[in-house]
């Protein structure tokens, strides 16, 4: 399903259509530019030793920004470690994302504040958590919906399928959003996915849709439709957003060991941001000056980001004992006390 060709031409589709205001089109462009900039800054910061690791979203901006753009304020998103465009669109402060990859926090933000869960690293876990939240929405007769993200590699995990079963059983208002970026670290998806991912939904009793994941307009259209279906009580939808992981799996990965440069080149031609940019220009929605302004804005923003990451405060040592339990815990409280004594001991004795 496609509404915007790689050449930036608007296409029409029998079931799906989307019309946005010029302001919205421009906003989408701006958001994608910032998400890409965030990714570039983080990648650079990791190289400079400012972050421990980074999982790049390069090339997946349309899938992430578009699907999250389709969400209402009260909808809830369950992202993975790579879905920076989703966190961004939910209003999560990028510095909080940096905290996770700098090793300052394992979560970074309050999921309720942005109705966006913290990143889930264990492949597939968040799919069940998201389905459960959606089951709660049904119990509450709420009009809200859930979107849960996962990758092509995750389609091998039991949890993802159990998520399908529970969602269809309870007609949970959830959208399963699979970004098929064609790689699970070194493994090409065609190796383990013998039938298109979106087709898997049918066997569980709900619809599956394939969408061009680099076409932000198409992504928004299908995600909106799926969310509407969920709100109406009709149950889940599986969306396969076909895209490409343009960077390494993470900054510690070396893709030259398992994939060819030319793949990358082909996909550069399908770049989601370029595609929208051409459309905006061709249809006179935005011009050079706008693109330059956004670029300049991103530059200054990037600078401040770099600075704040470098000066990010470290949490106090004894905070490792915080929030393990909500209530008093005799054993752990004792360990915390001993920990503080021990380190004060060193402080006094000047050792360390």
């Amino acid at each position: 399903m496609q509404l915007l060709t790689p050449e930036g031409e608007l296409a029409s589709h029998e079931t799906y259509s989307l019309t946005l205001t010029d302001a919205e089109y421009k906003l989408l462009y701006r958001e994608m530019v910032f998400v890409r900039r965030l990714d570039q800054e983080a990648t650079a910061l990791q190289r400079q030793g400012q972050l421990g690791l980074w999982a790049s979203s390069l090339g997946q901006e349309a899938a992430q920004v578009g699907s999250a753009f389709a969400l209402e304020k009260n909808d809830f998103a369950f992202p993975t470690y790579r879905d920076h465009g989703v966190a961004w669109m939910r209003g999560v402060d990028p510095m909080k994302i940096m905290q996770v990859y700098r090793g300052v926090s394992n979560g970074g933000w309050d999921p309720f504040e942005h109705r966006c869960n913290t990143y889930t690293i264990v492949i597939g876990n968040q799919v069940l958590n998201g389905v459960g939240y959606a089951m709660g929405l049904t119990l509450d007769q709420s009009e809200d919906a859930v979107i849960t993200y996962f990758g092509d590699g995750a389609t091998a995990q039991g949890d993802v399928h159990e998520g399908f079963v529970f969602a269809s059983t309870f007609d949970a208002p959830v959208v399963f959003f699979c970004q098929n970026n064609q790689w699970a670290i070194s493994q090409p998806s065609e190796k383990f996915v013998k039938s298109p991912i979106y087709k898997r939904a049918d066997g569980f009793g709900f619809p599956g849709v394939l969408v061009d994941g680099n076409d932000i307009l198409a992504v928004i259209a299908v995600t909106r439709a799926a969310l509407e279906r969920a709100r109406s009580g009709a149950g889940p939808t599986l969306i396969e957003a076909f895209t490409y992981r343009m960077a390494a799996h993470t900054t510690s990965d070396d893709p030259t060991r398992y994939r060819h440069e030319n793949d990358l080149q082909n996909w550069k031609l399908k770049d989601p941001i370029e595609r929208l940019k051409v459309m905006l220009a061709r249809n006179g929605i935005a011009d050079r000056s706008f693109f330059d302004a956004v670029g300049a804005e991103a530059d200054t923003w990037g600078e401040t980001l770099r600075a704040s990451v470098r000066s990010m405060p470290e949490p106090p040592p004894e905070s490792i004992f915080d929030h393990v339990y909500t209530e008093k815990h005799a054993v752990l409280d004792g360990q915390r006390a001993a920990f503080i004594d021990y380190h004060e001991g060193f402080a006094d004795s000047g050792v360390h």
């Binding site: 926090s105 309720f112 958590n129 089951m135 709660g136 998520g163 915080d322 909500t326 005799a330």
Partner: protein, 322 residues
Amino acid sequence: MTTELTMAKALNLALRTAMEADNKVILFGEDIGKLGGVFRVTDGLHKDFGEHRVIDSPLAESGIVGTAIGLAMRGYRPVLEIQFDGFVFPGFDQIISQLAKVHRRTHGSVKLPITIRIPYGGGIGAVEHHSESPEAFFAHIPGLRVLTPSDPQSAYSCLLSAIRSDDPVIFFEPKRRYWDKGVVDQTQAIAAPWQARILRAGSDVSVVAYGPMVKTALQAADASEYSLEIIDLQSLSPIDDKSIAESVARTGRLVIVHEAPGTLGLGAEIAARIGKSCFYNLVAPIERVTGYDIPYPPSKLEEYYLPDHDRILFAVDSVMEA
């Protein structure tokens, strides 16, 4: 007000009480609705509270735990039933990687007040996977609390406390004691359950047991020529070693009893802590009376695996003769 109930009925009453007190309390698990669970612990609740509060789940434990986490994020207090001890393991990943860590990961902004009820232990002549004692796995996981009652009263009180706790609680039910009767005082509901109980005072040997083995330990106390102090651990995480240490300070001797395999069972941690805190009080080595380090045997042989009061007395004698 007090009543005579079986442990199964006491648990049922605790669930009913919790559900009446808070409509966010929901039950979720396999066959817990019309059937009332394979042990009938949820008997009648589906009828009285409806299918939106007593929810039959699909046959998938990772799914049960994983979706319960989402339900809790939505404000519910799910009480899960795992059908048998041996079937909790498909849900182990969600328990250790999410259930136990989410509160910490989110700096306290997300609470997961989830109780996972698990009938456990042997002695009922069941087939494989239906008689295991996996409590040590959970007591080794930071972020979880673990409780196990030994009689109808503690079943009632501890389950209510588990459901009211904002921390995730793994609640092990000694299935072979489900049909034992005892007096339940419903006003004891709020008793803090994270402490051990001294069920019988004694001066010669401190005997620590929990869950199904408490009754066995009490039988041993009746039969022993020595004066045994019987301690019901109740809370397996945190372990209330303070109460145990106070007892051992008096008796100088300790025997620990559980069904689970000995190696890295609860007895190991208790022995390690008391061996340190009571180093100068102990007059004899600490003895552990536990299951052997083998897969649970076929039921015709389970009597040879399970600690019985003879094995406890044997250990008592050895610490007395040391």
